[in-house]
Symmetry: C2
DNA sequence: ATTTACGTTGACGTTAACGTTAACTAGGTG
DNA sequence: CACCTAGTTAACGTTAACGTCAACGTAAAT
């Protein structure tokens, strides 16, 4: 049995600390397609996962279009080998991009570590000076 | 001796594949402060490094304000221990943020690897089918 | 019965990060 | 000298990603 867990829009909003407006906006852009009960939106566990993916994408600087591309990779809309080969190309490209992003971040982390080291030794000196001025 | 290498705005623009407008815009925002020869901008090696940092930041989703914060960490505008402690706090926060970003990316990489695996096996089947239809 | 809470669809406003003219200057080159 | 190339400022335009009303529906609670 699959999980039948459903969510309301404000449940998701408070869980992920975003506004309902944001969630509806993602729907406008075609990133989410919740079912309805009357006119109210009902979100499935799968919808929640999609939202999670979008937000993860946002945190690492993906645009909504880029996140949609990734979401679209999840459900294979294709059925012939040519489409699959094309999809594999796109997956390769994305994985490459992500690996380069990790390198960028690691570079920035090293830079910050340098700054931290300098800052810490400067702090020692400042503290010593202040002690001398007592 | 320090490197006396200088750059014109279009040299930097073509090296980093951005427009001169973009570089001037970063200056407007206070991210770059090149020297001048008459009214022309002259960029030092240090300016180039700053630009590199900005672009690295952009690739991982930092706003220009966030990049400026990081740049500002590089030159210690402070001189007392209180300021240094405050700066160390900010460095901690940024390093934490970056580590979480790496986790986000690794999560996305795993997801993509799953998609790739499914795609590759689906491709095998599709190829077998096409062969059968010959 | 009405207030309260939560939901809905527009529609216009806002901010960041540039793009896009336009109008001008300053320095070589044929 | 005329022209071309690179640079400059100033100002308005554009797109993404929402924020912010307004005006309304529905269902539970008082």
């Amino acid at each position: 049995m699959s999980k039948q867990r459903r969510f309301t829009i404000s449940e998701l909003a408070s869980e992920f600390e975003i506004t309902t407006r944001t969630i509806r906006f993602y729907e406008e852009k075609g990133l989410l397609v919740p079912s309805r009960k009357g006119q109210q939106r009902i979100y499935s566990a799968a919808d929640r996962v999609r939202l999670q993916l979008i937000l993860r994408g946002k945190r690492i600087g993906l645009s909504l279009d880029e996140s949609r591309e990734i979401i679209d990779m999840y459900d294979p809309t294709s059925d012939n080998s040519e489409q699959y080969l094309f999809l594999l190309e796109k997956i390769n490209a994305k994985q490459g991009q992500f690996e380069r992003q990790i390198e960028d971040i690691q570079h920035l982390l090293l830079d910050l570590q340098e700054v931290r080291d300098k800052c810490e030794s400067a702090l020692q000196i400042a503290l010593a000076d202040e002690a001398a001025n007592q």
